[in-house]
Amino acid sequence: MFSIFEPFFYEFMQRALIACVLIGFTNGFLSAFIVLRRLALLADALSHSLLPGLAIGAILFGLAPAGLFIGAVVAAGLVGFGGQLIARSSRLKDETAIASLYTIAFALGILLIKYARVPVDLNHFLFGNILGLSNMDLWLSYAISFVTIVTLLAFQREYLLVLFDPTLAASQGIRVAALTYLLMGLTVLAMISSLQAIGVVLSLGLLIIPGATVYLLTDSFAIMAWGGGVVGAFGAVIGLLLSYWIDVPSGPSIVFVLGMALFLALLFGRRYGVLARMRHHTHRHEESLKRWGSAEGSKEKPF
Protein backbone atom coordinates (compact mmCIF):
# COMPACT_ATOMS: atom_id res chain seq x y z
CA MET A 1 0.00 0.00 0.00
CA PHE A 2 1.32 3.43 -0.89
CA SER A 3 1.77 5.76 2.01
CA ILE A 4 3.42 9.16 2.18
CA PHE A 5 5.47 7.79 5.09
CA GLU A 6 6.79 4.96 2.99
CA PRO A 7 10.19 6.62 2.31
CA PHE A 8 10.97 6.78 6.03
CA PHE A 9 10.99 2.97 6.33
CA TYR A 10 13.84 2.30 3.92
CA GLU A 11 17.37 2.48 5.22
CA PHE A 12 18.74 4.14 2.09
CA MET A 13 16.03 6.79 2.37
CA GLN A 14 16.74 7.37 6.05
CA ARG A 15 20.39 7.93 5.20
CA ALA A 16 19.44 10.23 2.36
CA LEU A 17 17.13 12.24 4.61
CA ILE A 18 19.83 12.70 7.26
CA ALA A 19 22.23 13.75 4.55
CA CYS A 20 19.69 16.26 3.25
CA VAL A 21 19.33 17.87 6.67
CA LEU A 22 23.11 18.12 7.12
CA ILE A 23 23.90 19.29 3.61
CA GLY A 24 20.91 21.61 3.39
CA PHE A 25 21.64 23.24 6.73
CA THR A 26 25.38 23.67 6.15
CA ASN A 27 25.01 25.11 2.66
CA GLY A 28 22.09 27.25 3.75
CA PHE A 29 24.03 28.65 6.72
CA LEU A 30 27.02 29.43 4.51
CA SER A 31 24.67 30.97 2.00
CA ALA A 32 24.31 34.24 3.94
CA PHE A 33 28.08 34.73 3.80
CA ILE A 34 28.33 33.97 0.08
CA VAL A 35 25.38 36.16 -0.86
CA LEU A 36 26.53 39.17 1.16
CA ARG A 37 30.16 38.90 0.10
CA ARG A 38 28.92 38.53 -3.51
CA LEU A 39 30.88 35.37 -4.11
CA ALA A 40 28.14 33.58 -6.09
CA LEU A 41 30.08 33.59 -9.37
CA LEU A 42 33.27 32.44 -7.71
CA ALA A 43 31.35 29.67 -5.96
CA ASP A 44 29.98 28.59 -9.35
CA ALA A 45 33.51 28.41 -10.69
CA LEU A 46 34.66 26.39 -7.70
CA SER A 47 31.78 23.92 -8.01
CA HIS A 48 32.61 23.22 -11.64
CA SER A 49 36.30 22.86 -10.94
CA LEU A 50 35.55 20.06 -8.47
CA LEU A 51 34.99 17.72 -11.43
CA PRO A 52 38.58 17.27 -12.67
CA GLY A 53 39.60 16.75 -9.05
CA LEU A 54 37.00 14.03 -8.68
CA ALA A 55 38.19 12.48 -11.93
CA ILE A 56 41.86 12.48 -10.92
CA GLY A 57 40.85 11.15 -7.50
CA ALA A 58 38.95 8.35 -9.21
CA ILE A 59 41.92 7.59 -11.47
CA LEU A 60 44.42 7.44 -8.60
CA PHE A 61 42.38 6.01 -5.76
CA GLY A 62 39.21 4.60 -7.26
CA LEU A 63 35.95 5.69 -5.69
CA ALA A 64 37.24 6.04 -2.11
CA PRO A 65 35.65 9.17 -0.61
CA ALA A 66 38.97 10.39 0.81
CA GLY A 67 40.65 10.32 -2.59
CA LEU A 68 37.75 12.08 -4.27
CA PHE A 69 37.70 14.60 -1.46
CA ILE A 70 41.39 15.50 -1.75
CA GLY A 71 41.21 15.69 -5.52
CA ALA A 72 38.23 18.01 -5.41
CA VAL A 73 39.77 20.35 -2.82
CA VAL A 74 43.05 20.59 -4.74
CA ALA A 75 41.36 21.22 -8.09
CA ALA A 76 39.07 23.92 -6.73
CA GLY A 77 42.04 25.53 -4.99
CA LEU A 78 44.09 25.52 -8.19
CA VAL A 79 41.33 27.17 -10.19
CA GLY A 80 40.66 29.77 -7.49
CA PHE A 81 44.29 30.75 -7.02
CA GLY A 82 45.15 30.29 -10.69
CA GLY A 83 42.40 32.73 -11.64
CA GLN A 84 43.76 35.34 -9.26
CA LEU A 85 47.30 34.77 -10.45
CA ILE A 86 46.33 35.28 -14.09
CA ALA A 87 44.27 38.34 -13.23
CA ARG A 88 47.19 39.92 -11.37
CA SER A 89 49.89 39.12 -13.85
CA SER A 90 48.10 39.79 -17.12
CA ARG A 91 45.65 42.07 -18.80
CA LEU A 92 42.72 39.72 -18.19
CA LYS A 93 40.30 40.71 -15.45
CA ASP A 94 39.55 38.22 -12.70
CA GLU A 95 36.04 37.14 -13.77
CA THR A 96 37.35 36.42 -17.29
CA ALA A 97 40.33 34.52 -15.93
CA ILE A 98 38.27 32.45 -13.50
CA ALA A 99 35.48 31.73 -15.99
CA SER A 100 38.04 30.55 -18.56
CA LEU A 101 39.85 28.38 -16.04
CA TYR A 102 36.78 26.71 -14.64
CA THR A 103 35.28 25.81 -18.01
CA ILE A 104 38.67 24.39 -19.03
CA ALA A 105 38.81 22.47 -15.77
CA PHE A 106 35.27 21.19 -16.26
CA ALA A 107 36.06 20.00 -19.79
CA LEU A 108 39.23 18.35 -18.54
CA GLY A 109 37.23 16.62 -15.83
CA ILE A 110 34.80 15.11 -18.33
CA LEU A 111 37.69 13.97 -20.54
CA LEU A 112 39.56 12.43 -17.60
CA ILE A 113 36.64 10.52 -16.12
CA LYS A 114 36.94 8.04 -18.99
CA TYR A 115 40.28 6.90 -17.58
CA ALA A 116 39.09 6.21 -14.03
CA ARG A 117 40.15 2.81 -12.62
CA VAL A 118 36.59 1.81 -11.99
CA PRO A 119 33.66 2.53 -14.27
CA VAL A 120 32.22 5.87 -13.14
CA ASP A 121 28.80 7.13 -14.01
CA LEU A 122 29.40 10.75 -15.03
CA ASN A 123 25.76 11.48 -14.29
CA HIS A 124 26.31 10.77 -10.60
CA PHE A 125 28.97 13.47 -10.42
CA LEU A 126 27.02 15.92 -12.52
CA PHE A 127 23.60 15.47 -10.97
CA GLY A 128 24.18 13.60 -7.72
CA ASN A 129 23.07 10.24 -6.41
CA ILE A 130 21.78 10.74 -2.94
CA LEU A 131 20.13 7.31 -2.73
CA GLY A 132 23.51 5.66 -3.20
CA LEU A 133 25.18 7.25 -0.16
CA SER A 134 27.46 5.01 1.88
CA ASN A 135 28.01 5.32 5.62
CA MET A 136 31.42 6.79 4.85
CA ASP A 137 29.79 9.51 2.74
CA LEU A 138 27.48 10.30 5.60
CA TRP A 139 30.38 10.58 8.05
CA LEU A 140 32.10 12.96 5.63
CA SER A 141 28.95 15.09 5.64
CA TYR A 142 28.85 15.13 9.44
CA ALA A 143 32.49 16.20 9.58
CA ILE A 144 32.11 18.91 6.95
CA SER A 145 28.97 20.31 8.59
CA PHE A 146 30.65 20.40 11.97
CA VAL A 147 33.85 22.08 10.73
CA THR A 148 32.02 24.62 8.59
CA ILE A 149 29.48 25.76 11.14
CA VAL A 150 31.85 25.82 14.10
CA THR A 151 34.38 27.86 12.11
CA LEU A 152 31.79 30.37 10.91
CA LEU A 153 30.39 30.75 14.43
CA ALA A 154 33.83 31.20 15.95
CA PHE A 155 34.67 34.03 13.55
CA GLN A 156 31.18 35.47 13.23
CA ARG A 157 32.16 38.95 14.44
CA GLU A 158 35.14 39.19 12.13
CA TYR A 159 33.04 37.92 9.24
CA LEU A 160 30.27 40.39 9.93
CA LEU A 161 32.81 43.23 9.65
CA VAL A 162 34.33 41.82 6.46
CA LEU A 163 30.96 41.15 4.82
CA PHE A 164 29.66 44.60 5.62
CA ASP A 165 32.66 46.55 4.41
CA PRO A 166 36.07 44.98 3.77
CA THR A 167 37.84 48.36 3.73
CA LEU A 168 36.42 49.37 7.07
CA ALA A 169 37.21 45.94 8.49
CA ALA A 170 40.80 46.28 7.32
CA SER A 171 41.06 49.66 9.03
CA GLN A 172 40.00 47.95 12.27
CA GLY A 173 42.84 45.46 11.90
CA ILE A 174 40.78 42.50 10.63
CA ARG A 175 42.64 40.08 8.34
CA VAL A 176 40.29 40.44 5.40
CA ALA A 177 42.19 38.35 2.83
CA ALA A 178 42.77 35.44 5.20
CA LEU A 179 39.11 35.33 6.21
CA THR A 180 38.00 35.48 2.57
CA TYR A 181 40.23 32.55 1.64
CA LEU A 182 38.94 30.64 4.63
CA LEU A 183 35.38 31.31 3.48
CA MET A 184 36.23 30.01 0.01
CA GLY A 185 37.77 26.90 1.57
CA LEU A 186 34.63 26.25 3.61
CA THR A 187 32.56 26.80 0.46
CA VAL A 188 34.50 24.09 -1.33
CA LEU A 189 33.95 21.74 1.62
CA ALA A 190 30.22 22.42 1.71
CA MET A 191 29.96 21.88 -2.02
CA ILE A 192 31.79 18.59 -1.80
CA SER A 193 29.17 17.37 0.65
CA SER A 194 26.30 18.62 -1.50
CA LEU A 195 27.90 17.03 -4.56
CA GLN A 196 26.69 13.65 -3.30
CA ALA A 197 23.14 14.85 -3.13
CA ILE A 198 22.64 17.10 -6.10
CA GLY A 199 25.82 17.03 -8.16
CA VAL A 200 28.30 19.56 -9.50
CA VAL A 201 25.89 21.49 -11.67
CA LEU A 202 23.10 22.16 -9.18
CA SER A 203 25.15 22.44 -5.98
CA LEU A 204 25.33 26.21 -6.44
CA GLY A 205 21.55 26.41 -5.96
CA LEU A 206 21.79 24.93 -2.49
CA LEU A 207 24.54 27.41 -1.65
CA ILE A 208 22.88 30.58 -2.95
CA ILE A 209 19.10 30.27 -2.85
CA PRO A 210 18.51 29.77 0.92
CA GLY A 211 20.49 32.91 1.84
CA ALA A 212 18.91 34.90 -0.96
CA THR A 213 15.44 33.85 0.22
CA VAL A 214 15.94 34.90 3.84
CA TYR A 215 17.74 38.09 2.75
CA LEU A 216 14.42 39.20 1.26
CA LEU A 217 12.68 38.68 4.60
CA THR A 218 14.94 40.00 7.34
CA ASP A 219 17.18 42.84 8.49
CA SER A 220 19.21 40.67 10.82
CA PHE A 221 22.40 38.92 9.79
CA ALA A 222 21.96 36.22 12.44
CA ILE A 223 18.48 35.41 11.17
CA MET A 224 19.82 35.37 7.63
CA ALA A 225 22.45 32.75 8.52
CA TRP A 226 20.34 30.49 10.79
CA GLY A 227 17.22 31.01 8.70
CA GLY A 228 19.20 30.13 5.58
CA GLY A 229 20.21 26.90 7.30
CA VAL A 230 16.61 26.07 8.16
CA VAL A 231 15.38 26.90 4.65
CA GLY A 232 18.18 24.82 3.15
CA ALA A 233 17.46 21.82 5.37
CA PHE A 234 13.68 21.92 4.83
CA GLY A 235 14.08 22.55 1.11
CA ALA A 236 16.42 19.58 0.75
CA VAL A 237 14.18 17.22 2.76
CA ILE A 238 10.97 18.28 1.02
CA GLY A 239 12.70 18.09 -2.35
CA LEU A 240 13.93 14.58 -1.61
CA LEU A 241 10.50 13.36 -0.44
CA LEU A 242 8.89 14.94 -3.48
CA SER A 243 11.37 13.17 -5.73
CA TYR A 244 10.43 9.88 -4.06
CA TRP A 245 6.68 10.40 -4.19
CA ILE A 246 6.44 11.52 -7.81
CA ASP A 247 9.52 9.63 -9.01
CA VAL A 248 11.75 12.40 -10.34
CA PRO A 249 15.53 12.94 -9.83
CA SER A 250 16.31 14.31 -6.35
CA GLY A 251 18.78 17.09 -7.25
CA PRO A 252 16.50 19.08 -9.54
CA SER A 253 13.61 18.43 -7.19
CA ILE A 254 15.52 19.96 -4.25
CA VAL A 255 16.61 23.02 -6.20
CA PHE A 256 13.07 23.42 -7.54
CA VAL A 257 11.59 23.44 -4.02
CA LEU A 258 14.18 26.03 -2.93
CA GLY A 259 13.36 28.01 -6.04
CA MET A 260 9.68 28.11 -5.08
CA ALA A 261 10.64 29.43 -1.63
CA LEU A 262 12.75 32.17 -3.23
CA PHE A 263 9.94 33.05 -5.61
CA LEU A 264 7.42 33.36 -2.76
CA ALA A 265 9.79 35.57 -0.75
CA LEU A 266 10.48 37.68 -3.82
CA LEU A 267 6.79 38.19 -4.40
CA PHE A 268 5.32 38.38 -0.90
CA GLY A 269 8.21 39.54 1.31
CA ARG A 270 6.68 41.97 3.79
CA ARG A 271 9.20 44.74 3.28
CA TYR A 272 11.43 43.80 0.36
CA GLY A 273 9.00 41.76 -1.75
CA VAL A 274 8.00 42.99 -5.19
CA LEU A 275 4.34 43.44 -4.22
CA ALA A 276 5.24 45.37 -1.06
CA ARG A 277 7.51 47.64 -3.06
CA MET A 278 4.81 48.30 -5.63
CA ARG A 279 2.39 49.25 -2.87
CA HIS A 280 4.95 51.52 -1.23
CA HIS A 281 5.77 53.33 -4.44
CA THR A 282 2.25 54.65 -4.76
CA HIS A 283 2.39 56.04 -1.22
CA ARG A 284 5.95 57.16 -1.20
CA HIS A 285 5.27 60.62 0.13
CA GLU A 286 3.08 59.47 3.04
CA GLU A 287 5.60 56.82 3.84
CA SER A 288 8.49 59.25 3.91
CA LEU A 289 6.49 61.61 6.10
CA LYS A 290 5.82 58.79 8.50
CA ARG A 291 9.45 57.74 8.41
CA TRP A 292 11.21 61.03 8.92
CA GLY A 293 8.52 63.26 10.32
CA SER A 294 7.79 61.43 13.53
CA ALA A 295 11.24 60.02 14.23
CA GLU A 296 12.02 60.67 17.88
CA GLY A 297 15.38 62.12 18.61
CA SER A 298 15.81 63.32 15.06
CA LYS A 299 15.64 66.95 14.18
CA GLU A 300 15.69 66.26 10.50
CA LYS A 301 12.74 67.50 8.50
CA PRO A 302 11.05 65.38 5.87
CA PHE A 303 12.29 66.06 2.38
Partner: protein
Protein backbone atom coordinates in the same frame (compact mmCIF):
# COMPACT_ATOMS: atom_id res chain seq x y z
CA UNK B 1 43.31 68.13 28.69
CA UNK B 2 45.78 65.56 27.52
CA UNK B 3 46.90 66.44 24.03
CA UNK B 4 47.35 63.71 21.46
CA UNK B 5 49.46 64.29 18.42
CA UNK B 6 49.26 62.78 14.97
CA UNK B 7 52.62 63.19 13.27
CA UNK B 8 53.00 62.68 9.54
CA UNK B 9 56.63 62.56 8.46
CA UNK B 10 57.81 62.58 4.86
CA UNK B 11 54.78 60.58 3.69
CA UNK B 12 54.73 59.44 0.05
CA UNK B 13 52.06 57.14 -1.36
CA UNK B 14 51.98 55.90 -4.95
CA UNK B 15 49.49 53.96 -7.05
CA UNK B 16 51.18 51.87 -9.73
CA UNK B 17 54.30 53.97 -9.29
CA UNK B 18 52.42 57.21 -9.89
CA UNK B 19 52.75 59.24 -6.72
CA UNK B 20 49.50 60.56 -5.26
CA UNK B 21 51.10 62.20 -2.22
CA UNK B 22 54.60 63.67 -2.18
CA UNK B 23 56.76 63.88 0.92
CA UNK B 24 54.07 65.20 3.21
CA UNK B 25 54.95 66.59 6.65
CA UNK B 26 52.17 67.52 9.07
CA UNK B 27 51.57 67.73 12.78
CA UNK B 28 47.92 67.49 13.84
CA UNK B 29 46.61 67.83 17.37
CA UNK B 30 43.51 66.35 18.92
CA UNK B 31 40.71 68.77 19.71
CA UNK B 32 40.62 70.23 16.23
CA UNK B 33 38.28 69.90 13.30
CA UNK B 34 40.55 69.92 10.27
CA UNK B 35 39.35 70.46 6.71
CA UNK B 36 41.23 68.68 3.95
CA UNK B 37 40.85 70.75 0.82
CA UNK B 38 42.17 70.46 -2.70
CA UNK B 39 41.17 69.75 -6.31
CA UNK B 40 40.23 66.30 -7.66
CA UNK B 41 43.25 64.04 -7.66
CA UNK B 42 45.00 66.08 -5.00
CA UNK B 43 45.35 63.01 -2.81
CA UNK B 44 42.68 63.79 -0.21
CA UNK B 45 41.24 60.27 -0.09
CA UNK B 46 44.76 58.83 -0.29
CA UNK B 47 45.85 60.83 2.75
CA UNK B 48 42.82 59.68 4.74
CA UNK B 49 43.42 56.07 3.74
CA UNK B 50 47.11 56.37 4.59
CA UNK B 51 46.23 57.64 8.06
CA UNK B 52 43.79 54.73 8.44
CA UNK B 53 46.51 52.28 7.47
CA UNK B 54 44.70 51.19 4.30
CA UNK B 55 47.43 51.94 1.75
CA UNK B 56 51.12 51.18 1.68
CA UNK B 57 53.59 53.99 2.23
CA UNK B 58 56.42 54.43 -0.22
CA UNK B 59 58.34 56.61 2.19
CA UNK B 60 57.74 58.14 5.56
CA UNK B 61 55.72 57.29 8.62
CA UNK B 62 52.66 58.21 10.61
CA UNK B 63 52.98 58.35 14.37
CA UNK B 64 50.05 58.54 16.76
CA UNK B 65 50.33 58.45 20.55
CA UNK B 66 53.91 57.40 20.11
CA UNK B 67 53.05 54.40 17.92
CA UNK B 68 54.99 54.29 14.69
CA UNK B 69 53.03 53.64 11.47
CA UNK B 70 49.73 53.22 13.23
CA UNK B 71 48.38 50.71 10.76
CA UNK B 72 45.20 49.22 12.15
CA UNK B 73 45.28 51.37 15.24
CA UNK B 74 41.81 51.25 16.75
CA UNK B 75 42.28 54.81 17.93
CA UNK B 76 41.92 55.86 14.30
CA UNK B 77 38.55 55.42 12.60
CA UNK B 78 37.98 55.77 8.88
CA UNK B 79 34.52 56.63 7.55
CA UNK B 80 34.03 55.62 3.92
CA UNK B 81 32.21 57.71 1.34
CA UNK B 82 28.49 57.04 1.49
CA UNK B 83 28.45 55.59 -2.04
CA UNK B 84 30.92 52.88 -0.99
CA UNK B 85 28.57 51.36 1.60
CA UNK B 86 26.09 48.53 0.98
CA UNK B 87 23.03 50.11 2.59
CA UNK B 88 20.94 46.99 1.94
CA UNK B 89 23.08 45.04 4.38
CA UNK B 90 20.90 43.25 6.92
CA UNK B 91 21.76 45.27 9.99
CA UNK B 92 20.10 47.88 12.16
CA UNK B 93 21.68 51.14 13.33
CA UNK B 94 22.43 49.52 16.67
CA UNK B 95 23.97 46.53 14.88
CA UNK B 96 26.16 48.87 12.85
CA UNK B 97 27.38 50.63 15.99
CA UNK B 98 28.01 47.33 17.77
CA UNK B 99 30.41 46.47 14.93
CA UNK B 100 32.64 49.23 16.29
CA UNK B 101 33.11 47.13 19.44
CA UNK B 102 33.93 43.87 17.68
CA UNK B 103 37.57 44.52 16.87
CA UNK B 104 38.46 45.14 20.52
CA UNK B 105 36.27 42.24 21.71
CA UNK B 106 38.10 39.83 19.45
CA UNK B 107 36.78 36.37 18.74
CA UNK B 108 35.87 35.05 22.18
CA UNK B 109 34.97 37.77 24.67
CA UNK B 110 31.24 38.25 25.21
CA UNK B 111 29.39 41.49 24.58
CA UNK B 112 29.19 42.95 28.08
CA UNK B 113 26.98 45.51 29.80
CA UNK B 114 29.86 47.95 29.39
CA UNK B 115 29.79 47.41 25.63
CA UNK B 116 26.05 48.05 25.59
CA UNK B 117 26.59 51.23 27.60
CA UNK B 118 29.16 52.47 25.09
CA UNK B 119 26.78 51.74 22.20
CA UNK B 120 23.99 53.68 23.95
CA UNK B 121 26.40 56.52 24.52
CA UNK B 122 27.36 56.50 20.83
CA UNK B 123 23.68 56.77 19.88
CA UNK B 124 23.31 59.73 22.24
CA UNK B 125 26.47 61.57 21.13
CA UNK B 126 25.40 61.40 17.49
CA UNK B 127 21.79 62.26 18.31
CA UNK B 128 20.39 59.00 16.96
CA UNK B 129 18.41 57.88 20.02
CA UNK B 130 15.17 56.21 19.03
CA UNK B 131 16.56 55.14 15.65
CA UNK B 132 18.58 52.19 16.92
CA UNK B 133 16.23 49.53 15.61
CA UNK B 134 15.97 50.96 12.08
CA UNK B 135 17.51 49.17 9.12
CA UNK B 136 20.36 51.41 7.94
CA UNK B 137 18.70 52.10 4.59
CA UNK B 138 15.67 53.56 6.38
CA UNK B 139 17.73 56.55 7.48
CA UNK B 140 18.23 59.90 5.79
CA UNK B 141 21.65 60.70 4.36
CA UNK B 142 22.63 62.79 7.37
CA UNK B 143 21.53 60.12 9.80
CA UNK B 144 23.55 57.56 7.85
CA UNK B 145 26.69 59.69 8.22
CA UNK B 146 26.05 60.08 11.94
CA UNK B 147 25.46 56.33 12.29
CA UNK B 148 28.99 55.74 10.98
CA UNK B 149 30.32 58.40 13.35
CA UNK B 150 28.56 56.50 16.15
CA UNK B 151 30.28 53.29 15.05
CA UNK B 152 33.63 55.09 15.19
CA UNK B 153 32.74 56.43 18.63
CA UNK B 154 31.90 52.92 19.82
CA UNK B 155 35.32 51.90 18.56
CA UNK B 156 36.55 54.56 21.04
CA UNK B 157 38.49 56.31 18.34
CA UNK B 158 40.45 59.48 18.98
CA UNK B 159 40.92 60.31 15.33
CA UNK B 160 37.97 60.45 12.94
CA UNK B 161 38.74 60.43 9.22
CA UNK B 162 35.75 61.39 7.06
CA UNK B 163 35.76 61.25 3.27
CA UNK B 164 33.44 63.92 1.79
CA UNK B 165 30.74 63.42 4.43
CA UNK B 166 28.76 66.50 3.39
CA UNK B 167 28.26 65.24 -0.16
CA UNK B 168 24.61 64.92 -1.12
CA UNK B 169 23.23 66.16 2.21
CA UNK B 170 20.55 68.85 2.36
CA UNK B 171 21.07 72.00 4.40
CA UNK B 172 19.49 70.70 7.62
CA UNK B 173 21.41 67.45 7.52
CA UNK B 174 24.65 69.36 6.91
CA UNK B 175 23.99 71.53 9.95
CA UNK B 176 23.27 68.48 12.12
CA UNK B 177 26.46 66.77 10.97
CA UNK B 178 28.45 69.95 11.65
CA UNK B 179 27.04 70.03 15.19
CA UNK B 180 28.07 66.42 15.76
CA UNK B 181 31.58 67.07 14.43
CA UNK B 182 31.93 70.11 16.69
CA UNK B 183 30.75 67.99 19.63
CA UNK B 184 33.47 65.43 18.90
CA UNK B 185 36.08 68.18 18.63
CA UNK B 186 35.03 69.61 21.99
CA UNK B 187 35.38 66.14 23.49
CA UNK B 188 39.04 66.31 22.51
CA UNK B 189 38.90 64.19 19.36
CA UNK B 190 40.76 64.94 16.17
CA UNK B 191 38.41 65.17 13.20
CA UNK B 192 39.85 65.26 9.66
CA UNK B 193 37.34 65.87 6.88
CA UNK B 194 37.94 65.93 3.14
CA UNK B 195 35.72 68.61 1.66
CA UNK B 196 35.29 70.24 -1.71
CA UNK B 197 32.81 73.04 -1.03
CA UNK B 198 34.90 76.17 -0.54
CA UNK B 199 31.89 78.28 0.53
CA UNK B 200 31.11 76.18 3.59
CA UNK B 201 34.67 75.24 4.55
CA UNK B 202 35.49 78.34 6.58
CA UNK B 203 32.54 77.90 8.91
CA UNK B 204 33.09 74.17 9.43
CA UNK B 205 36.78 73.84 10.24
CA UNK B 206 39.11 75.57 12.67
CA UNK B 207 42.16 74.32 10.78
CA UNK B 208 42.63 73.51 7.11
CA UNK B 209 45.08 71.46 5.11
CA UNK B 210 45.44 72.71 1.52
CA UNK B 211 46.59 69.79 -0.53
CA UNK B 212 47.61 69.43 -4.15
CA UNK B 213 49.60 66.22 -4.38
CA UNK B 214 51.91 67.97 -1.95
CA UNK B 215 51.19 70.19 1.00
CA UNK B 216 50.38 73.77 -0.03
CA UNK B 217 49.55 75.10 3.41
CA UNK B 218 48.36 74.04 6.84
CA UNK B 219 47.20 76.09 9.80
CA UNK B 220 44.31 77.89 11.45
CA UNK B 221 41.53 78.57 8.97
CA UNK B 222 41.70 82.35 9.44
CA UNK B 223 45.37 82.46 8.45
CA UNK B 224 45.60 79.77 5.81
CA UNK B 225 42.26 79.78 4.05
CA UNK B 226 42.99 82.91 2.00
CA UNK B 227 42.18 83.76 -1.59
CA UNK B 228 45.83 83.55 -2.70
CA UNK B 229 46.48 80.21 -1.03
CA UNK B 230 43.28 78.70 -2.41
CA UNK B 231 44.15 79.88 -5.91
CA UNK B 232 47.61 78.45 -5.51
CA UNK B 233 46.09 75.10 -4.47
CA UNK B 234 43.64 74.87 -7.33
CA UNK B 235 45.74 76.37 -10.15
CA UNK B 236 48.83 74.19 -10.02
CA UNK B 237 48.47 71.34 -12.41
CA UNK B 238 48.14 67.94 -10.82
CA UNK B 239 48.14 64.47 -12.20
CA UNK B 240 44.58 63.20 -12.27
Amino acid sequence: MHTHRLLIRDLTVSYHRIPALHHLNLELECGHCVGLIGPNGAGKTTLLKALAGLVKFETGSVVFEGHENCRHDRGIAYLPQREAVDWDFPTTVRGLIEMGRYASLGTWRTFSAEDTRIVDQALAVTNLQGLGERQINALSGGQQQRAFLARAWAQQAHVYLLDEPFNGLDKNAQDDLAVTLRQLTQDGKLVVVSHHNLQTAASLFDQVILLNGELVAFGPTAQVFTKERIEETFSTSVMT
